[in-house]
């Protein structure tokens, strides 16, 4: 009986073995790529916030770890985070403010101020924030959706002032290289 040229088996009764090695090689390459490329979601940053990319952005890239101990990120999430409304009217109004895992209603200025003060006390207790050390002073980062109107973002700045925060920063996408 004729011998199979490919598998070296005689006739049709032999086992057919697939060569799995290249497939496993490719799979491992893909896994390594995804492990290296993926970023672990931080509790500080809310998902689905579309960040503005200004022309010739002056935004300074964040530290490698992305974690700055004396920073308090205030997310302003759009009322239409998925962009379902084609007229963008819903997106223009903020849905809620998000500080860490806590959501604060729009218009609740007192809660916003209170949350900033509480977080400062927590960070002080942890030693991450100090009132005397300039480098360790608390600063707020306003991470707002670019579609939201100014009227919903101005209260965040006011809350920062009322809570006695001296520094702030605006989140923007860095310049494309």
């Amino acid at each position: 009986m004729a011998k199979s040229a490919v598998y070296g088996t005689e006739g049709g009764s032999g086992d057919v073995n697939f060569n799995m090695t290249p497939m496993i090689d490719c799979t491992f390459q893909l896994i390594i790529f995804f492990i290296l490329a993926s970023q672990i979601a931080s509790e500080e940053t809310a998902k689905k916030v579309k960040i503005a990319r200004p022309h010739m952005s002056q935004a300074l890239a964040q530290s490698e770890s992305g974690k700055i101990p004396n920073r308090l990120v205030i997310n302003v999430v759009s009322g239409d985070p998925d962009g379902l409304d084609p007229d963008e009217l819903a997106a223009a109004s903020a849905g809620f403010y998000k500080i860490k895992t806590r959501s604060i209603d729009i218009g609740d200025q007192d809660a916003l101020v209170e949350e900033i003060k509480n977080t400062r006390e927590e960070l002080k207790a942890q030693g991450a924030v100090s009132e005397t050390d300039e480098k360790k002073k608390l600063f707020i980062e306003i991470r707002a959706d670019k579609r939201v109107n100014w009227e919903d973002i101005a209260p965040v700045i006011r809350a920062g002032v009322h809570a006695g925060v001296a520094k702030m920063s605006l989140t923007a996408l860095t310049e494309q290289k």
Binding site: I24, W150, A172
Partner: protein, 168 residues
């Protein structure tokens, strides 16, 4: 002797040889660890990463300062600051653009580059980077245009940039 039988020495019985043994006859026995569970786990991992992976653009910060408490509506009488440059931001008819109006500049600016050039011109005219810039966005202007103005002011190396609310 037929392939399907084997002869044992000193034994007259003809032993049947199954096809699997016939195929492996003369081949070296190879040791291979079971790969199936590893491939299973690998594919699970791959599927997890494929489904959960989300590519994000690189975010950064444009640093600024906030006024100290109580200074928001305060009029500074001693040592008044030089006349600030006021930039009003108004939304255009379609929400995809904005108009920038600078005090002392008669034309309405629509592009960020034009805004930057105008700010540089004012800086040279005044001969100082310490001239305060006050950004006055209208209530219904999108945040991206406010960030744009702040960014262009930082790009023009102005040192004092602040926000203010227009009193209606």
């Amino acid at each position: 002797m037929a392939l399907s039988t084997k002869q044992v020495e000193g034994d007259e019985t003809v032993h049947y040889l199954p096809p699997r043994k016939r195929r492996n006859k003369g081949k070296k026995a190879s040791m291979q660890p079971p790969l199936t569970p590893m491939i299973d786990v690998t594919f699970q991992l791959l599927l997890f990463f494929l489904l959960t992976c989300e590519f994000r653009e690189s975010e950064g910060q444009i640093p600024g300062t906030l006024p100290s408490k109580g200074n928001i509506m305060q009029n500074v009488k001693d040592d008044p600051p030089p006349d600030p440059i006021r930039i009003r931001i108004r939304p255009s008819i379609n929400r995809g653009a904005a108009n920038y109006e600078i005090t002392g500049v008669s034309v309405v600016i629509t592009s960020p580059e034009e805004l930057h050039q105008t700010l540089l011109g004012r800086q040279q005219q005044l001969g100082s980077r310490e001239v305060p810039i006050i950004i006055l966005p209208s209530q219904d202007v999108a945040w991206e245009f406010v960030v744009e103005v702040f960014n262009q002011a930082v790009r023009a190396k102005f040192e004092k940039i602040g926000f203010a609310q227009e009193i209606m």
